[in-house]
Amino acid sequence: MTHALIRTALPLLAATLVAGRAAAQQTDPRLERLDAATRPTVAALIDSARTALLPTEPLVQRALEGATKRAAGDVIVAAVRRLAVDLGHARDALGSTASPAELSAGAAALRAGAAQTTLTELRQARRGLLVVPLAVLADLVASGVPVDSAAAAVLALAGRARDADLIEFRRAVERDIALGAPPAAATAAAVTAADVFVNAGARQQRPGRP
């Protein structure tokens, strides 16, 4: 009985382990666009991210961007690894309930220089999705606004402003910078204007009195 069990169970167990390992190593077919030397490393990074319950699609896209732009393999690996680290930090700051889009935008904001505490404060200040506030924060820094000014501005608006208001705010800052205003001053002016606009919107939404 015991021998029969061993004779049956061992091959089954071994085959299952082999098959499971093969399945685990199944890579995204889109990664075929990477060269043979780079692909396993990128696939391993993506598997690690999946194991850590991080979104993997941004990592795949970052690798594909590198392949299309014909970047060197080590550059692609470094970019994917760095994004994975940023996604992990973004999740630490935004919480485990953050959506993949929020984590992606959060990673961009961190990459721009925002502090993790800023992301956490944004989470506390605003209900709903944080994709747009985080993206606006990253875009402002990319436009030359000092990261502290950008963070303070977005935090000041995030509690009440709609996504459309935040995007309009970013456009106003970029417009003023293009016209020659110093980035920090352009941000401060746009915050004031946007704040007035948001408050006016809030008043309009109050129920009327008889």
């Binding site: 029969a4 004779r7 049956t8 091959p11 089954l12 085959a15 299952t16 082999v18 098959a19 499971g20 093969a22 399945a23 199944q26 995204d28 889109r30 999946r50 979104p55 993997t56 699609e57 941004p58 795949v60 896209q61 970052r62 594909l64 961007e65 590198g66 392949a67 299309t68 732009k69 970047a71 550059v75 470094a78 970019a79 760095r82 993949p100 889009a101 992606s104 935008a105 990673a107 961009a108 990459r111 721009a112 999705l129 994709v131 747009v132 985080l134 993206a135 606006v136 990253a138 875009d139 820094v141 990319a142 436009s143 996504d163 459309a164 935040l166 995007i167 970013r170 970029e174």
Partner: protein
């Protein structure tokens, strides 16, 4: 001295010490009676199914059979993992975005980005009206997208009307498009 109590005890002991003859067919009759007894749970189909499920069985499998079972498990796992791409967002959330580039001397332009796997063949731009204006419309769901224009298959251009991607790792310029709820960008 005569003791009537001892006499009774002796007789009972002798009686109990006599060998007892048991019918050899007794075991068979007992087991038949047990089998004929109604089982708890009744004779309903559910009861039969429940008894069938609980009855221990010994499975015998050859190594080849084991491999076949393992292969079947692997196929199931692989099919499950084939769905590793992000699920397609609901169509109701997507909004159409028009990308425009002025490039008078270009012969072909592709829009490439996070929304089309950076595949230069997937979203070619078309001339619109004037010879210099190239355009394409792409449906996008809320999120933050990196993209760029690939001109004549070799030259990368960022979108002059969009923020530059600061988190660009590859040197070639890229732009960022943020799509909020309601399609704002």
């Amino acid at each position: 001295m005569f003791d009537p109590v001892d006499d009774v005890i002796d007789r009972i002991a002798r009686h109990l010490r006599r060998p007892v003859q048991i019918d050899p067919a007794l075991d068979g009759r007992v087991m038949r009676e047990i089998t004929a007894l109604p089982t708890p749970g009744g004779a309903t189909a559910l009861g039969k199914a429940w008894r069938w499920l609980r009855r221990p069985r010994q499975l015998t499998l050859t190594p080849l059979g084991g491999l076949a079972v393992a292969a079947a498990i692997a196929v199931v796992v692989l099919l499950a993992r084939m769905n590793f791409r992000s699920p397609a967002p609901p169509q109701a959330e997507s909004r159409a975005f028009q990308f425009v580039l002025v490039a008078p001397r270009a012969t072909r332009i592709s829009l490439v980005g996070d929304f089309n796997d950076w595949d230069a063949t997937r979203t070619p731009m078309l001339r619109a009206g004037s010879e210099a204006l190239w355009t394409v419309v792409v449906p996008l769901t809320p999120g933050r997208y990196h993209y760029a224009f690939l001109v004549d298959g070799s030259r990368w251009l960022a979108d002059p009307s969009a923020p530059v991607a600061r988190d660009d790792d590859y040197g070639a310029p890229s732009s960022v498009l943020t799509v909020g709820r309601g399609g704002d960008s």
